[in-house]
Every structure is written in C-alpha cells, then in structure tokens.
C-alpha cells in the first residue's frame, strides 16, 4: 500500500470549532464526515491535506427532520438513515429510493448525504434525486453563513463552490406544497455496485390526467448532473394516458449533448441511443404510477 501523506487529525466538538480550524488552516484542511469517498482518496494518495477535520465528535450535525416546509439533513446524517426513514416516503419517496441504491449497505451505514453532495460525483444517486427538488446547501464559515442552491453549488465533476474556510453543515430540501407527485428512478450499470453509466430521476405532478409539473434530471455520463428543462417544458400539459414516454429524444439530447463524457463511460454512439431510451422509460415509470 502507498504511504498515506502524514496529516494532523482534529476532532472538534462543534461546528463553530470546525470552522475555527478551517479558518486557521485554509485550503490545507479538509473536512471528513462519513469518509466513504475521502478515506480511499487519502490511502491512494489522491488527496493529501495537512489537516483533516473529522466531524465524528461534533454535536448537532445529525438532525434529520421535516419542519417549517423543509426537510433538514444535517452533515452527519448517513445515507442509511435516509433509506430507512419511513416518514419520508410521503414527500420524498424518490430520495429514499435513490438513497437505497447508493453503493452497498456498508457504504450507506457510514457515508453521509451531505458528504455525497460535497464530493460532487456526476454519478451520485443522491445528487440526481436532490436536483429533482428545490435543494439548498447550508454553508458555514467563521462569522458568516450562506445558502446556495444545489444547481449553483456544483460546478463540475467533483467540484463545488465551497470556499476554503467553509463547511457544509446541512442540506435543506423544500417540502412541496402541492400533492400528487409521482416519481421514476432508473440507472444503467455494468455490474451491480459499479458507478452508474447513466442515471435518470423524474418527478411528475398530475391533475385531471394532465402533467402540470415535471422535473427530469440526468446524471452519470455527463460532466455534472443536470435538469433537462426543455424536456420538462415539453412534458408539461401532456395527457399522460396518451403516453408520456413518447417524448422527443431531441429534448433529452439537447439537454445533455454538450456535457456528455463518453471517455468516462461508454462510446458516444451508445450514449446517444441509450440516454433517450433511459429517460423515456423513467418518465413512463412516473406516469404509470399516476395511471395506476
């Protein structure tokens, strides 16, 4: 095994103490939550911080609750807690489904939702699902807190707008005022447990058999997971009994074409064929749940 670059491990007791340490050490410090992405990066030598600030002793970061129109997911809430939170199935069934498909039970028991978001992998189940909701990241630094929408927070593969000195303390997801949302969730993997070649998450809201709101997100073969807004517009107003999945492939490809990363996943010809079919099938799943 390669030698791990030597680092100092800090285990502060509060978020305030975390950001004090981050202010002191700037970009030489990294925050460790569940460690399921960062620990392998450390042992493989891909990340070599001078100071590692572990959240394992911090109080107040493990809150998972719905209050004031928000689902609050604290920085130390594991993926497994989301997966097993029966009370979330009413408004966040898609998120629960996506959480249940992250890695393996081993990874879900320790990996955190917020850590997953900060790792910003385009193949993240959690990020694709969160982008189907109005999701905000809470960032904290000494003396200043800020909130940033998830779609603005992630700006590239494994890259976010987090600044040196900042930590992500929580993810807040808006609880929809309107009822009647259904979802579809599919991913394409070569082998079970592999990072996805492509992921699609869809949420539809229907009234009187018409789709009047749609969220469609694609991740995996793209540089960052993104909403397909043209397709969402095309779906709006569609009578689902007429076959919501007969959508234009052009809308799918227009939304992702310039961001495809065939070198990381599969040949471009394959992606051009597979992605529209994946999205159509996922929209069909969501529409089918309305009809039944």
């Amino acid at each position: 095994m390669p030698a791990v670059h030597p680092f100092t491990l800090e285990r502060p007791r509060s978020a305030e103490a975390v950001v004090q340490l981050l202010a002191e050490h700037g970009d030489e410090a990294r925050v460790l939550a569940g460690g399921q992405s960062l620990t392998p990066l450390l042992t493989l030598g891909f990340s070599s911080p001078e100071v590692l600030v572990s959240l394992d002793q911090c109080s107040g970061l493990d809150t998972l609750e719905q209050a004031n129109g928000q689902l609050h997911i604290g920085a130390m809430v594991t993926t497994a807690r989301l997966e097993h939170a029966a009370e979330l199935r009413v408004h966040f069934a898609l998120l629960v489904e996506a959480a249940s498909q992250v890695g393996s039970p081993h990874v879900r028991n320790f990996g955190t939702v917020v850590g997953n978001v900060c790792h910003a992998d385009p193949r993240s189940d959690v990020i694709v699902a969160l982008l189907c909701h109005d999701t905000v990241i809470q960032l904290k630094a000494t003396g200043v807190d800020r909130r940033i929408a998830l779609e603005d927070f992630i700006d590239g593969p494994n890259s976010t707008k987090i600044e040196p000195g900042e930590m992500a303390v929580a993810v807040d997801v808006a609880v929809e005022a309107n009822a009647g949302w259904t979802f579809g969730y599919r991913k394409v993997v070569k082998r079970a447990g592999d990072p996805a070649m492509a992921i699609c998450a869809v949420r539809l809201r229907c009234e009187n058999n018409y789709i009047n709101d749609a969220r469609v997100v694609v991740g995996g073969a793209v540089s960052l997971a993104r909403r397909l807004t043209a397709l969402e517009s095309s779906l709006t107003g569609v009578h689902f009994a007429a076959g919501a999945e007969t959508t234009l492939a052009a809308d799918v490809l227009a939304g992702v074409e310039s961001h495809l990363m065939p070198e990381r996943t599969a040949p471009i010809e394959y992606l051009h064929t597979m992605l529209p079919r994946l999205v159509a099938a996922t929209v069909g799943d969501a529409a089918g749940k309305v009809a039944s």
Binding site: P6, F7, T8, R11, G35, T39, P40, S54, V107, F110
Partner: protein
Amino acid sequence: MTDVALHSLEMTVNGEQQNVICSPGETLLDVLRDRLGLTGAKFGCGIGYCGACTVLIDGEVAHACCLLAATLSARNITTVEGLAGDELNEVQESFLDCGAVQCGYCTPGFVVSIRGLRNSVPEPTEVQARAFLNGNICRCTGFAAIVRAACAPINPELAE
C-alpha cells in the same frame, strides 16, 4: 508518519476493551491486522468495493479499509474472530453445508456481512441477500452457493 501526533483511543473489539494507539492515517483494517493481530478481515481493494475487510460496527456492516481508526473511539467492533467461540457459528456452518468456500479470501467478509444481515433479517430471501451482499465480491465467482448459505433456515442449535 513520524511527525504527526499519535492518537490514543478506547474501543471495544470482540467484546474486549482495547486501548489503541495509532497514527491518524491508519484505517480500522490497519489497526485490527497490524496492531491487534486480528487477521480475519482481509485487505482486498482498499476502496470500499469488495468487502473482504467487512466488520460490524455497533452491529452494522462496515468496510474497515474505509474508516480511520482514530475516528472510532467508543465504538463496538466485531470481526470474524468475534463471531464464534470454540464452535463455528450458524453462518459458518451454512457455508460448509452449501460448499460456499472456494479460495477463501472473501469468506470472512461474507460471513460477517451475512451475520449483519441476519441480525436484522434472520431468514433473508434470495432477493434480500443478493441486494445486501452488493458490498462483497467473491473473485472466484462462487456467488450462488454463498447466497444459498445466506438464506439457510435458522439452525436453532447454532443461532446466536
């Protein structure tokens, strides 16, 4: 690794309180194998994919290669050595009955994972077992027998 502070922490390993001294970069797997002499958990992929290093932490399955030992103070760790006394446990007996061992390198990880699964689902279905064992790989590809062992009925004489 000489210029960083060592950490001293208490953890429970297979029911015994241990005072562990380790450097910040040591994984739980490093500590179990190199400091405590518990070589049942194996180094496989080192990235939390193959499950050869599986242990239970407070009863839940974990990849020991992907956790820094110094962050696990006061946690309760169970390795394959802690699952059985002088007699094999029910999961190990099922592995023998089903012929679920080939080269054996992945076996301790599978046994611990299946113990973790059966702690919450005592008699899993094949679908449940296959979904749960997503975190373990048998490089000999002997999965069918392993899944049969995972789904074996509870043996009342051996159940823990």
